[in-house]
């Protein structure tokens, strides 16, 4: 557990080193401007969180004051947390008190890489102090205990046998209790966790609620507390650390290829292939850049993976910002499934379908997954519903009904039907000419209409086949009949949604697909739209 009590002011100071000390951040709370975060110098000067801003200014005239932006602080802390995944794969932000300031790392099976638990704690704390953060930390067998110890007895590495001894001596605030519970407990004269633990539990629960006992048990490790890690855990990854940070994109891509080769060897040994690959670039200044690419097929071909990342990197040329450089690169694979051993590289034998899938991988990695599309046909008679465009990466040919019959349809469909003006109307039929996009067309040939009704069951409407009978008058001596059940939906209006489609051809052979919206009405002019272009 790492705790950064002064995170807000440290963060603002790092973002803008010209800020003077003492620095305080204020927020508008209940109509007044109150301090919500202060730095070490301000604390020495006697300021407190929650104080009125005007009072604070009077006490310390040379104060630097900023408004606090919680959203920015939280997202900054989240990036900070991601960066710590270079120490342990499981990192979470503890959100019990605030959205920032407390970081949980699960170091099970990791600490030996740093030369032991206390050495690991020292390394993590030291590298943050170098960057100018005030940080305290502790290692303990339970999350609750680690929180309490890092806040009230920092620097300890506590093993399970001595856990209760240390916890007993901590103040009750180390239990992550809410202010009412704290006030009540101090009224009772309970100041230490130890005195709370030896009390009978039932009265405590009756007075302070079950959450107090939960916190107590969590601290002592009697009930399990789960952390929600920020990044998904990738079991299979390859990584490389650099003695000096690197900055060039080409170097990053070259390293990616090397890592892909390492990863491929490992996957091949296990007989696996992956579909999603993630590249994490750990920047020197505690930020992580993550790039992900997907593959339509299981693969472990390092050339293909490296190519996808190099395409993906071209798309972010603008937002590519390495700051002061990268000191670690990790390539992880997810969506792993068994894949038989196949020959890769120059002597590979690939079918056409594999080739095509790799092509759409490459194009999607550069243009985005929603830029490479395939048509999926659906069983619907509404033209715009009958075909759906989906990403080619996931689209698979759906089985088509055997007796598939579709009447003549245009080769191109306009995504939004366009209005056409009619200047020579023929009652109940097709107009003799129309105006579309400011050009006049004389309709020489036409076939139709093909009437397509709307799908009322999709629009959340009620189809009324038989009108609801009016309630009968109640005869004396008899019970009133319950009214017929009518669902609470708008009645379906076929007039508004039915379309009559015509295929029309003008004098020079252009063929269009136009429709009239609604039924023909003698008193109102019909509304016509153009929906498609035939070959």
């Amino acid at each position: 557990m790492l705790s950064l009590p002064l995170w807000p002011t440290d963060y603002y100071k790092r973002a803008d080193p010209s800020l003077g000390t003492p620095l305080v951040l204020y927020e508008r709370i209940k109509g007044g401007l109150r301090l919500s975060a202060i730095d070490a110098a301000a604390r020495l000067a006697g300021l407190k969180i929650g104080q009125n801003l005007a009072d604070a200014r009077a006490m310390v005239p040379e104060l630097s004051v900023l408004e606090m932006d919680r959203g920015m602080l939280e997202s900054g802390f989240a990036e900070f947390a991601d960066w710590h995944s270079n120490a342990s794969p499981l990192v979470a932000v503890m959100r019990d008190a605030e959205g920032f300031g407390d970081l949980v790392l699960d170091i099970t099976g990791v600490s030996h890489l740093f030369g032991g638990e206390s050495a690991m704690l020292e390394t993590l704390l030291e590298r943050l102090r170098v960057l100018g953060y005030s940080v305290a930390g502790a290692i303990a067998p339970s999350i609750g205990a680690a929180w309490g110890i890092s806040h009230f007895a920092p620097g300890h590495v506590v093993a399970r046998p001595e856990l209760s001894e240390i916890l007993d001596r901590l103040p009750i605030a180390a239990l992550r209790l809410n202010p009412q519970q704290l006030a009540g407990l101090s009224q009772m004269g309970l100041t230490h966790v130890g005195s709370l633990r030896t009390r009978p539990r039932k009265p405590l629960q009756a007075r302070f609620g079950v959450s107090l006992l939960d916190r107590l048990d969590q601290a002592y490790g009697d009930i399990e507390e789960r952390m929600s890690p920020r990044l998904p855990v990738a079991e299979r990854y390859a990584e490389r650390k650099f003695a000096d940070p690197i900055g060039l994109l080409d170097d990053v891509l070259m390293t990616t290829h090397d890592l892909a080769v390492q990863l491929a060897v490992r996957l091949e040994a296990e007989g696996l292939g992956g579909q999603a690959f993630h590249l994490f670039l750990y920047r020197v200044d505690h930020k992580v850049m993550a790039l992900s690419v997907n593959s339509a097929r299981l693969t472990r071909d390092p050339f293909h993976i490296a190519k996808l990342f190099s395409n993906r990197s071209e798309r972010l040329s603008g937002e590519y910002d390495l700051g002061f450089g990268i000191d670690m690169i990790r390539l992880a694979v997810s969506s792993v499934s068994p894949l038989e051993g196949v020959q890769l590289g120059n002597f590979s034998h690939q079918g056409a379908a594999e080739d095509l899938d790799q092509l759409s991988d490459r194009m999607s990695s550069r243009l985005g997954a929603m830029a490479v599309l395939k048509t999926q046909l659906l069983a619907s008679h509404i033209p715009e519903r009958a075909a759906r465009l989906g990403p080619a990466l996931v689209a698979r040919a759906a089985p088509r009904p055997a007796n598939w019959h579709m009447p003549l349809r245009p080769l191109r469909l306009l995504p939004v039907p366009e209005h056409v003006a009619i200047n020579a109307e023929v009652p109940e039929g097709l107009p003799a000419s129309m105006i579309w996009r400011r050009d006049r067309y004389r309709i020489e040939k036409a076939s139709g209409p093909e009437r397509l009704g709307a799908e009322w069951w999709r629009t959340g409407q009620r189809l009324e086949l038989v009108p609801v009978p009016p309630p009968k008058p109640v005869e004396p001596g008899q019970k009133a009949e319950p009214p017929a059940f009518v669902p609470d939906l708008v009645p379906f209006d076929p007039d508004a949604t039915t379309r009559d489609y015509y295929i029309v051809e003008d004098g020079s052979g252009r063929r269009f697909w136009i429709y009239r919206q609604g039924f023909h009405r003698p008193d109102e002019p019909a509304v016509w739209f153009l929906h498609g272009l035939f070959a």
Partner: protein, 266 residues
């Protein structure tokens, strides 16, 4: 009058120069001809073809012409046609429509649509796609003029196409012609459709008029019709305005009477 021996040597030298320049020999188009009767030639892969039409409202016609050729290039080894378009031109020109492709005779599964944000990306995608061995044809629908699409770009594309054996169709609109290295350039316009059996008022089988502006084929003017087996040349332009009124297999009053009967029955 050069002797045959000398002619052979000249041809060999020409080929050598073409090889050095990595330039498809001048007779490229003829070499790619698969079948050539009197009608429309069956063109093989490896060609860069520009298909021009004067107006954007003919977008359907030129897409049909390009897909009709690309369909002939599909084999079990080359199983896809890639269609590319700028994302913001979808509404202006329309998107290829799956059921319409079925009506046309092309399996919608064989068509991959790529919508790019910029012309730069589009040209990249054309090159990437034509380099793939499984692609039979690339149809790029380019509704606007761009400086990026210059002679150099088309030269790159024509070399790529010749090297990999897939065909590229650039669908262009307007009457401007820029210098390009395309093997063939067509100017296409729709033609009034043929007669539909039993219903002379309805649009019939579709037809095009194709004029070859650049390239080396035996003819430059084609009147084309579309059949189940591909393109077919038709003899003559049909007289305009024909078809209203005559040729119905039933006397005109009878269908109306039947319809009336049906209405009453319903």
């Amino acid at each position: 009058m050069p002797t045959p021996d000398r002619q052979q040597r000249l041809a060999a030298l020409r080929d050598a120069i073409a090889n050095i320049e990595r330039k498809p020999a001048l007779a490229e188009t003829r070499a790619r001809l698969i079948g050539q009767g009197d009608g429309f030639p069956v063109l093989g892969g490896g060609l860069l073809q520009e298909v021009f039409t004067d107006e954007k409202r003919n977008a359907g016609a030129i897409l049909g012409f390009a897909l009709g050729q690309a369909k002939g290039l599909l084999t079990p080894e080359r199983l896809a046609v890639i269609f590319l378009q700028l994302a913001d031109e979808g509404q202006k020109l329309g998107l290829p429509y799956g059921p319409g492709l079925l009506s046309f005779g092309l399996d919608p599964d064989a068509l991959v649509l790529v919508r790019t944000a910029s012309m730069h990306d589009l040209l990249w995608a054309v090159e990437e796609a034509i380099a793939c061995r499984a692609v039979a044809g690339v149809v790029a629908d380019i509704g606007s003029h761009s400086k990026l699409l210059d002679f150099t770009a088309s030269r790159r594309l024509s070399l790529r196409a010749a090297a990999t054996g897939g065909s590229i169709f650039l669908l262009r609109y307007g009457e401007n012609r820029e210098a390009s290295a395309a093997h063939l350039r067509w100017r296409l316009s729709p033609l009034q459709s043929g007669r539909r059996r039993y219903d002379a008022k309805a649009p019939g089988p579709l037809r095009w008029k194709a004029h070859l502006e650049k390239g080396n084929l035996h003819r430059t003017e084609f009147l084309l019709g579309w059949t189940d087996h591909g393109f077919a040349t038709i003899a003559d332009e049909p007289t305009t305005g024909a078809g209203f009124g005559h040729g119905t297999p039933l006397p005109r009053a009878l269908p109306a009477a039947v319809a009336d009967r049906l209405l009453q029955a319903g």
